[in-house]
Point group: C2
Chain length 316, copies 2
DNA sequence: TGAGGGCATAAGCTGGGGTTATGGCCAGAG
DNA sequence: CTCTGGCCATAACCCCAGCTTATGCCCTCA
């Protein structure tokens, strides 16, 4: 009974968990179906539930949000203006859920999958789900299995014949592999908007960066290696302010203002867009690194691997 | 009992709804808390549930995904490698849900809110939720109400004193209002990857575009007005292939290959990134348009409105 | 050698979401 | 002008996912 808690307070406050204020995925999917099909009943049929179930689901969603979403008529249902807006927001949630699903499905994929992919953490986190969705759209019967690890682990899997295609970020191609650049990434220095670095007028110098304790991932992460290498000439990296186990944790700490950090552009894209973090320009250094697809030397990817490779080429 | 259905089939297939394959928001939030706090019990406490509830929730999520997510020990719980990956995917779902919540909350906002915003559909759909999240992070007690409509409606609200700040996309500032450019948008010609236009070697000419029936929104949308104006010198727009009520519907039709369309870059960003749609370059024309914040002439925004305005300035 | 933090198991309750059955409403056909 | 069919709402009932409280085991650390 966590209901009669802070209810009389103002409407703000994540005291009430997000899950209680946002309709669940089933409801959002249903709403999308209603928008597309123009009728509660048809949407219900498509989703495989009964018409009254759909009706009540939509109704309770409207109650929860406090807004009328669909205009019912004896000839069907149309979205209201608010409904159209809500539907588009819902669409983004559903798309994120689809990416989650595509990734999770690959993660549990059996070893006998038709396409076995090994990828670095960063690529697996931020790019692969999108590729997998595109792949599924074009070749729905391709079962994909995913194994995530660092560059060395990816190379090992490929050479052992336990993976068909690999993806790594880094400065060079691991020995024994051929590769193709499929994109570019760079490390960015970030800080919370309230951090002094976010208000600097002048660019940061590399020496300053090297001298400042940062929030970093533990040793062994590709990000950290690149950083180590780049700062080697400037006295090396200062002792970290915090050493955390996951990129997520690092971002959370940086967002909460614990200190500055250095992270992949891919990892902080969302945070920068939402201004939870601010990029701190660094003088003269780019911290760039290529994203590569890799495979055992001489064995050009064929079949599903070749197809997935094709999907990745056109992306940023 | 929709369980014993297509279970023996391959793992592909959205026969089973997404909602049954993706943990619900509560579970994802819980997982994020576990990742951040390093213990099931602490996460449970933060989320306001009992420790056994958290334990069972995480366990059933692991079962559902078929992957171990956390490594339990008597000293706490750490994410596994797969868990870290899943957590980051989960984070994106939760962030989309937060945007949904921020938007929905504003949509139902009472008229007595401290900040009343009127915005064009495109801006309300794609940019406002992010701003609202940022605003809430910095000024948690600002209650925002949102009203979405076309440029004329936004102007009307502002002039009637029923809104404090407006956002419009278009070529000029409505009469009676002052404004500031806060970003830029452009219309892009898009087609499904399988569409002939997606494989063209040569750029499309404006005349070709004008002569081709397109999938468009109904009359009255800002997008369509810009397009009408731009093609007026080339024989005007051909009769539409399809006229649909919402941007969502237009995109869905284009993705499914019904034909080419012209949409705001903001609206198709996701689809382009996921290669569900492909941009078709057009020779010599940019179809650009400014995004503007607007307010009644002479009444510079102050208070919360000024603050929100500040948040928008740094974004793309 | 307690004491305490952390996780798991067990037993029982609750409510949201599902189902079937039915009724009202409106449009267009006969 | 009535009939028929598509669409939505209401009612009554059912079930299971997820919550709670009450324990117990395990490990670490003072």
């Amino acid at each position: 009974m966590a209901r009669a808690n802070g209810e009389e307070r103002s409407d703000a406050g994540p005291v009430v968990p997000l899950a209680h204020r946002v309709p669940d995925l089933g409801a959002l999917e249903l709403l999308l179906a209603v928008a597309r099909l123009g009728s509660l009943g048809r949407a219900a049929r498509e989703r495989g539930i009964s018409q009254p179930a759909a009706s009540s689901r939509i109704r309770s969603m409207e109650q929860q949000l406090g807004v009328a979403l669909v205009e019912r008529s004896p000839r069907g249902s149309r979205l209201t203006d608010a409904g159209a807006l809500v539907t588009d927001w819902a669409r983004r949630v559903v798309e994120a859920a689809e990416a989650f699903d595509a990734g999770a499905q690959a993660l549990r994929g059996r070893r006998d999958s038709r396409l076995r992919v090994a990828a670095s953490m960063t690529i697996a986190e931020y790019l692969l789900p999108g590729w997998l969705i595109a792949l599924r759209a074009q070749r729905p019967d391709t079962a994909v299995s995913l194994l995530a690890g660092n560059s060395a682990a990816v190379a090992e899997r490929l050479l052992a014949g336990e993976a068909d295609l690999g993806f790594v970020e880094g400065l060079d191609v691991p020995a024994g592999l051929d590769g193709a650049v499929i994109g570019h990434d760079r490390l960015v220095v970030v800080a919370a908007p309230a951090h002094p670095w976010a208000r600097r007028r002048t660019e940061l110098t590399v020496a300053e960066l090297a001298a400042t304790p940062l929030i970093l991932r533990e040793h062994g992460s590709g990000t950290r290696q690149v950083l180590d290498a780049a700062l080697a000439g400037h006295g090396g990296l200062a002792a970290p302010l915090l050493e955390l186990a996951s990129t997520t944790a690092v971002k959370a700490a940086a967002v909460s203002g614990a200190g500055p950090s250095v992270l992949s552009e891919l990892a902080v894209g969302e945070e920068l867009a939402a201004r939870r973090l601010v990029e701190v320009p660094v003088l003269g250094t780019r911290f760039g690194r290529d994203l590569r697809a890799v495979w055992p030397s001489g064995q050009r990817p064929a079949g599903p691997a070749r197809h997935l490779l094709g999907l990745t080429r056109a992306l940023p």
